[in-house]
Amino acid sequence: MDILKAEHVRKQFSGHLALDDVSIAVPQGSIFGLLGPNGAGKTTLIRIINRITAQDQGNVFFDGRPIKTNDVNQIGYLPEERGLYKKMKVGEQAMYLARLKGLDKKLAHERLKYWFDKFEITAWWNKKVEELSKGMQQKVQFIVTVLHKPKLLIFDEPFSGFDPINVNLLKEEILNIKNDGGTIIFSTHNMASVEELCDHIALIHNAKKILDGDMDQIKADFKNNIFEIVYRNGNVNFKEVIPAHYQLLEEKADLKLKRAKIQIPQNESPNSLLNFAISHVEVHGFAEILPTMNDIFISKVKGTPQSHA
């Protein structure tokens, strides 16, 4: 079941089309990567989901029915442009933001205590926000986003400003939320973390959705039949013996082992490449090279003609 569905959403700002017939479906319990270059329209789509702005055309469904203003209480949103009141105390502020989401005082306090302990920032409860480092402020913001246990979480560049240790801490928490049945929309430019976390992705470029689907499926769709062979044989160069319909992309020698990347035609089985390799060299490794999300992102975005409305 899809917790969130956007159908044919269109949003026009004066003289600038921000979203053009964009549809996405976010399955319950998944981590959904919303990708796209800067200015593609991701933030506009997220704001429409959060009812901060309204679409000109199209429909948004939450939990199977048209989304209502009240549904934002079931959504946790960590915007890319985020901050806190600098002069306010950390604890007071966290309480205030929690209560804005409809938590009562007692429950808000209980849950805040749990999270503050978990993130080891309890000592900062009575400090002013301006005394906190950027990373600590980010932790507070993350906490108040997830505190009301929303059905849908939207993280826009959640890892910016974190050191690697805290990035891992955060990733763990995101996976925990997923395991507890939560759904996460995850918008970022960091393709490595997309690869690590996301089940589904949608790629938006120039206000249009140009790609979406299950991540493994997309990777499979984008593979180029490139295989890497790790082998040992001092005398044979693939360059000299390779058949014409195979393409040698790269060959390099480590200390003892050599590596070659070879692309084979679409209709040919990897077995024939392996047979060919075995007949010439001692094979130590054989694996298909799948494209990274980075490669897919760049090739899709570069391959789409720039259009300016």
Binding site: F13, S14, R47, N50, I52, T53, A54, D56, T69, V72, N73, I75, Y77, L78, P79, E81, R82, G83, L84, Y85, K86, L97, L100, K101, Q141, V144
Partner: protein, 423 residues
């Protein structure tokens, strides 16, 4: 500011009055009267000791330079039957007090000399001189007469208008700064994912109003306490004398004689304090207080919304200038116009300015103590409410787009586009 405010306000009230209670140290004034007509007339006052001298002017000037006295008044002999010129030498520029005192004394003597010359007894003339008391009465349709007190009305209207003006300016710009703070600290998008932008804006305006009202009432109470304590300890009599003295010198310098006549007339009327109390009582308190609260509140709400819109459209306070001007001009204009309007509170300029919502909070408040037809008040109030609704609607549209817009130079055309956005 909460503590400092009342101290400042109290000192504005107390200091000038208190300062006038210090009499200046007695100044010595040498008088070289070659005509011999005025010598006797210059009698010593609290401030001046007049010392007649007899010598030629050159020696007198030399002596004076060494004496350290305040001034040397030289009245040269003339060919004319009545001398009309004097020369005042002083080490520093003389104050208006001094010169007008000397002029008055000389004028009086010259006048009586002239009267004598034309055969009129100065005593008869003094008896002829009259002081007129004009009692002004307001009369309403049912024939009830009511005494009107122009000066008190004036004071009250300026005070009420000033209070509204100050409140709008101080707390209106506080709304603006609050919005800018939320924008620059980037918390605004976190909050608008929980509440609607319009709710956030109205919350800010109402919240600041609450803070403002608390602070204002605290100021008024603390100021009253401070002034009260001062009166009790330093002594009210002295202060009263001081304030009377201040009033006297503010208008024009009265000769002792005129002052005597003035106070006699005042006594005949009723004591001046009694008059003030009567005047205050004559004002229709419920109308005054009711309309004050109304214009205070809606004036602030109207401007608060506009200030919030400005705050949302810019990235920092330095960019507010271009949008501040059209908003503050009606406010400043109404303050400037008050001086003109209280001379003619029923005129067409006063009428229109008290109807137009942007100027009506200050101007209508300034007019009300003079009595304004009821329908005008209702019209003005109705339009102010409409103006407030329009301003809030407009501000809401600008605010909604503005708070999420960063790093863009905004001009009026851009604002107009925001207003036209559909959602």
């Amino acid at each position: 500011m909460t503590i400092l405010g009342p101290i400042l306000m109290a000192s504005v009230y107390i200091l000038p009055v208190y300062l006038t209670t210090f009499s200046d140290e007695e100044k010595k004034m040498q008088v070289l009267d070659e005509t011999g007509l005025f010598e006797k007339e210059f009698t010593n006052t609290d401030d001046f000791q007049f010392i007649p001298i007899k010598m030629d002017i050159e020696t007198a000037k030399e002596n004076f330079a060494l004496s350290g006295d305040y001034g040397l008044l030289y009245i040269p002999a003339t060919e004319l039957s009545v001398p009309t010129t004097g020369i005042l030498y002083t080490t520093s520029s003389p104050s208006i007090d001094v010169t007008s005192h000397i002029k008055n004394v000389m004028k009086r003597e010259v006048e009586s000399l002239k009267l004598e010359a034309s055969g009129i007894d100065p005593d008869i003339l003094r008896a002829i001189k009259s002081s007129i008391v004009l009692n002004t009465l307001k009369i309403d349709e049912s024939g009830n007469e009511e005494k009107s007190y122009t000066e008190i009305n004036m004071g009250l209207s300026i005070f009420a208008a000033l209070l509204i003006y100050m409140f709008i300016f101080i707390f209106g710009s506080q709304v603006m700064r609050g919005v800018i703070e939320e924008k620059t600290s980037r918390i605004v998008e976190v909050i608008v994912s929980s509440v609607k932008p319009f709710q956030l804006m109205m919350g800010k305006i109402v919240g600041v109003a609450m803070v403002g009202l608390t602070q204002f009432s605290l100021w008024i109470v603390l100021t009253a306490i401070l002034v009260g304590v001062f009166m009790a300890t330093v002594g009210g009599d002295e202060l009263m004398a001081g304030s009377q003295k201040m009033m006297g010198t503010q208008g024009k310098v009265l000769s002792t004689q005129e002052l005597a006549e003035f106070s006699k007339a005042a006594q005949a009327e009723s004591s001046s304090t009694m008059q003030i109390i009567e005047g205050i009582q004559s004002i229709d308190a419920p109308v005054m207080i009711g309309s004050f609260l109304f214009y205070f509140l809606f004036g602030y709400l109207l401007y608060g919304a506009l200030f919030a819109a400005i705050g949302s459209a810019v990235d920092n306070e330095t960019d507010t200038q271009q949008f501040m001007i059209p908003v503050t001009i009606p406010l400043i204009l109404s303050m400037v116009m008050i001086g003109f309007l209280i001379t003619n509170p029923g005129g067409p300029v006063a009428f229109w300015l008290s109807i137009i919502p942007l100027t009506s909070p200050v101007i209508m408040m300034a007019r009300i103590p003079f009595g304004v037809p009821v329908w005008e008040i209702w019209l003005s109030m109705g339009l102010l409410v409409l103006g407030f609704l329009a301003a809030t609607w407009l501000a809401g549209k600008i605010y909604r787009t503005g708070i999420l817009m960063y790093g863009k130079k905004i001009n009026y055309r851009e604002l107009w586009k925001w207003i036209k956005y559909r959602n």
